[in-house]
C-alpha cells in the first residue's frame, strides 16, 4: 500500500529530475552563419557555433595564451621547422570514430588541399603531416612559423571525422561531424541551428546543457527584446546604446570583453594612382595631421557610447605585443594645422568611403567634423559593403572605414594588411624593411624577440599610417542572470563548456 503511494511521488521526482536535466540554451546570434565546414567556413559568427561543435587542437584562454584542447602537449624541433603534437587519448567523433593521428593528418591535409579552402593561407608554411604513432603527429614546416599554434587554435586546428569527411565531401557542412561537446542535429537556413549534447565527449563533466539552439536575429533591438521576453538566454553583440536598458535590471547580466580586432581608417597610399593624386595618400605629414585632428576618446563616446577602448595600434594596449614605444597621440589641432601648412596643403580634401552600417557611418561623420577643425575637407561616400569592398580592392578610394575581427596572434592583425601585395592590403602599402620585419616576426618563436620586432614595426608602420587605428570594440554579451560559468575570451566566441543554469 505504502509503495503504491510512493509511486506517484517517485514518478514526480523522476519527471522533475529529467525536467531539470533536459535543459536548452538558446543563443541569439547577430548574423546567420555561413557553411558549417571548418575548411570552407568564412564568417566570424560561424566560429561561435563551431566552438560548441568542433574541438580544435588548441584553444586560447582569457589572456590569449595557447592552451591544449584535442592536443595533450606539443614540442617544437630544434630548428623550429617541425611541431610534434601529442593527442588526447580516448577522444571520439560524433559518429563514434576515433580521433587519432590519422584523423588529424586527414583534417589538416583537407584544409590544405580542398578546392575553395579558406584555411590554405593560414596553413601556408605546413609542408607535410606525419603520423608518428596513433596519438602523435608531426607537422613539418617549410620555414619556422610562430603564428602556427594560434592558427591551430582556430578553424585550421579543427579536426573532423575522416569517415564523414570522405562520405560527404564538399557537402560536409550540411551535416558536420566533429569532436566537440555538442553534435549537430538540424539547421534551418536563416532560422536556427540545433545541437545536442554529445554523451561521449572527452570532457563531458563540463557540459551542462542537453541542447543548444542558435537563432540568428540580425536586428539588435529585436535580439534584445527576445532576451528580455525570456525567449533567449544569451545574446551576443548587444548594441552599445542598449546597455543602459539592461543596467539595473537584476534579471540580466552583461559581460564586456575588449576585442582582439580593431576599427580603423585605411588610407590609399599606393593601391592605385589615386594615391599620388591626393595629398592624404601622397604625404605622410597629411596623414599625421589627420591622426592629430582626431580625438579617439570623443569618437568612442559618440560612435560606441563609450563601449570601446581607444587604440592606436593593431592590438589593444593591454596586449602583450602592444608597442609601448609608439603611445597613443593626444589630439593636437594646432600641430595638425602646422603640419598641413608645412606640407603646403592647408585645406586638403579627400573622400572617406564607409560601408552603410550605423557604426561606420557615425565614425565617418565624427571624423569629418573633427578633421574640419584642422582644415580638412572630408567628403563622405556611404556605400553598401560589397560595393565598398570592390572599390577598395580596385584602389578607387582615398580613405576607407574598415574593421577587422582580429586574430589571437598579432601576425593575423598585421601581416596581410601591411606586407607587400597581400590580399587585405587595401592601402597598397609596401616597404621592404617592413616585409623583412614581418617575416622575421613569423619565424621567431621567442615572445621577447617578437615583441622587439613588433616595436620596430610599429616605429615604421605607425609613422607611415597606411591605417589609422581608432579603437577596439567591446564584445557586449547580455544574458539571463541564471546563467553561470561564462568565460570571457577576447576572440568574442562563446565557449559553452562550463556554462550552466544556477
Amino acid at each position: 500500500m505504502q509503495s503504491r503511494r510512493l509511486l506517484p511521488v517517485l514518478t514526480c521526482l523522476l519527471m522533475l529530475a529529467t525536467g531539470v536535466a533536459a535543459q536548452t540554451l538558446r543563443i541569439g546570434l547577430a548574423e546567420d552563419p555561413d557553411v558549417l565546414d571548418p575548411t570552407l567556413a568564412r564568417s566570424f559568427v560561424g566560429r561561435i557555433v563551431f566552438s560548441a561543435l568542433c574541438d580544435k587542437l588548441f584553444d586560447i584562454n582569457q589572456n590569449l595564451d595557447i592552451v591544449p584542447q584535442l592536443a595533450a602537449g606539443y614540442q617544437w624541433s630544434a630548428d623550429n621547422k617541425a611541431l610534434t603534437i601529442r593527442l588526447r587519448p580516448n577522444v571520439t567523433f560524433h559518429d563514434g570514430e576515433k580521433m587519432d593521428a590519422a584523423a588529424v593528418k586527414y583534417s589538416l591535409e583537407r584544409h590544405k588541399t580542398m578546392p575553395g579552402s579558406n584555411r590554405r593561407g593560414e596553413l601556408a608554411p605546413l609542408a607535410s603531416v606525419d603520423v608518428v604513432d596513433p596519438l602523435t603527429v608531426r607537422l613539418n614546416l617549410s620555414a619556422p612559423f610562430s603564428p602556427l599554434l594560434a592558427q591551430l587554435a582556430d578553424r585550421a586546428g579543427m579536426i573532423i571525422s575522416p569517415k564523414a569527411g570522405a562520405a560527404e565531401g564538399d557537402k560536409f557542412g550540411a551535416k558536420p561531424v566533429c569532436a566537440g561537446p555538442f553534435r549537430f542535429v538540424e539547421r534551418v537556413a536563416q532560422d536556427r541551428i540545433v545541437l545536442e549534447r554529445f554523451p561521449e565527449y572527452w570532457n563531458k563533466a563540463a557540459v551542462h546543457f542537453d541542447r543548444i539552439v542558435y537563432l540568428p536575429i540580425p536586428d539588435s533591438t529585436v535580439r534584445l527584446a527576445n532576451l528580455r521576453s525570456g525567449q533567449l538566454d544569451f545574446i551576443e553583440r548587444l548594441a552599445p546604446s542598449d546597455v543602459p536598458q539592461l543596467k539595473g535590471d537584476a534579471r540580466f547580466r552583461l559581460t564586456k570583453i575588449t576585442e582582439i580586432g580593431y576599427q580603423g581608417i585605411t588610407i590609399n597610399v599606393g593601391k592605385s594612382e589615386l594615391a599620388q593624386k591626393n595629398p592624404l595618400g601622397r604625404d605622410p605629414r597629411v596623414r599625421e595631421a589627420l591622426e592629430l585632428a582626431l580625438d579617439r576618446d570623443g569618437i568612442v563616446q559618440v560612435v560606441m557610447d563609450g563601449e570601446a577602448d581607444p587604440g592606436n595600434q593593431w592590438v589593444a594596449a593591454t596586449n602583450t605585443f602592444y608597442a609601448k614605444n609608439v603611445p597613443m597621440p593626444a589630439r593636437n589641432v594646432a600641430r595638425a594645422k602646422a603640419l598641413l601648412k608645412e606640407a603646403g596643403v592647408p585645406n586638403p580634401s579627400f573622400t572617406l568611403m564607409t560601408p552603410t552600417t550605423a557604426d561606420a557611418q557615425r565614425i565617418a561623420q565624427v571624423v569629418q567634423a573633427m578633421a574640419r577643425e584642422a582644415g580638412f575637407d572630408v567628403k563622405i561616400l556611404s556605400t553598401e559593403f560589397a560595393t565598398s569592398l570592390d572599390l577598395a580592392d580596385k584602389g578607387q578610394f582615398d580613405a576607407y572605414v574598415l574593421a577587422w575581427s582580429g586574430r589571437a596572434d598579432p601576425d593575423g592583425n598585421i601581416f596581410s594588411f601591411d606586407a607587400c601585395k597581400q590580399p587585405l592590403n587595401y592601402a597598397g602599402y609596401c616597404k621592404p624593411e617592413v616585409d623583412d620585419l614581418l617575416n622575421r616576426s613569423r619565424t621567431t618563436l621567442d615572445t621577447n624577440e617578437r615583441r622587439k620586432l613588433y616595436a620596430d614595426l610599429a616605429a615604421i608602420v605607425l609613422k607611415d599610417r597606411p591605417i589609422i587605428y581608432l579603437y577596439h570594440r567591446h564584445w557586449l554579451w547580455a544574458y539571463t542572470s541564471k546563467l553561470d560559468g561564462l568565460q570571457a575570451i577576447p576572440d568574442g566566441l562563446v565557449r559553452v563548456t562550463g556554462l550552466r543554469f544556477k
Binding site: 567556413a41 590554405r120 536586428d219 521576453s229 525567449q231 569592398l389 570592390d390 587585405l424
Partner: protein
Amino acid sequence: MLAYVVRRVATIVPTLVFVSILIFGLQQLLPGDPAMVLAGEERDPAVIAHLRETLHLDKPFPVRYFYWLRGVIHGDLGESLRMQQPVRALIAEKLPVTLELACIAIVIALAIGIPAGVVSAVRRGTAWDYGANIVALWGLSTPNFWLGIMLILLFSVTLGWLPASGYVSPFENWRANLASMLMPAFVLGNAIAAVLMRHTRSAMLQVLSSDYVRTARAKGVRERDVVLKHALRNALIPIITLGALEFGTLLSGAVLTEQVFTIPGFGKLIVDAVFNRDYAVVQGVVLFTATAYIVLNLVADVAYAVVNPRIRVS
C-alpha cells in the same frame, strides 16, 4: 477556345526568356565582386579564384547565361554558395512560410478593413466616420518596421504574451505557430486594412444611395438587413478583387516584416541573398516569382475567356 489557350501559352515562352535575361543581366549590374564577398574576411586569392571558377565569373556574360539557362531548363536553379543548399530546396522551404504570413495578414486586413468601412459609411459624418478615417490614415502612414518594433516591445517585452520573433512550423506546434505569426501578420495586414477600409467606405456610400436600397428601406426592411444583406453584398465585389490584388503587394511587403520579426521566409531569403551576392539564390527566387506571376495571369486570362466569349475572338 483551345486555339486561344494555345496562343496565350505560346506567348509565355518568349516572355519567360525575356524575364530570365533581365534577371540575369540586372544581377550582373550589381556593383561588387560576388567572389570577394563570398570569400569572407580573409579574402584568400586562391579562394576568390576558386569561387570565380565555380560561379563561372571568369566566362563572358552570354556563356554564364547559357550555363544558368541550361540548369534552369533541367529544373536546376543552382546552389546557394553561402548556405550550400539547392535553391529549389530553399524556395520549397521558405515559400510556405511567406504564403502563410500573407494569408493571415489578408484575413486580418479584411477583418479590420471591411467592418471599419461599413461603419464609416453608415455613420457618415459622425465621430465614428472620422475616427475610422484617422485610424486608416495612421495605418497607411505607419512604417512597418516601426510598428513591428513597438508591438514587440509591448506584447513581448512588457506583457510577455507573444514571442518577439522567430517562426514555428504549424506541423510542429500550431498554437506556437499562430502566436509567432500574429504580430507580423498584423503589421503586414495593417496597411492593407486601411486601403480596404477606404474602398469599402466609398463602395458602401455609392450602394447605399442607390434605388434598390431606397426601395428596401421603403418596404420596411430593418436597417441592419439593408446594410448587411442588400448593400454590403454588392459593395463587396470590387473589394474582393482589390483584396486579391493586394495579396501580391503583401508578398513584397513581407520582405521588411520578415526582417524585423526574423521570419525565415521568401523576403528574408532574397534580401540576405542580395547582400551576400548569392547570385544563384537571387536569380532562382526572382525567376520563380516572375514565373508564378505570369502563370497566374494566364490562368486569369483563360478564366475571363471562359466567362466572356468576346475576349476569345479578339
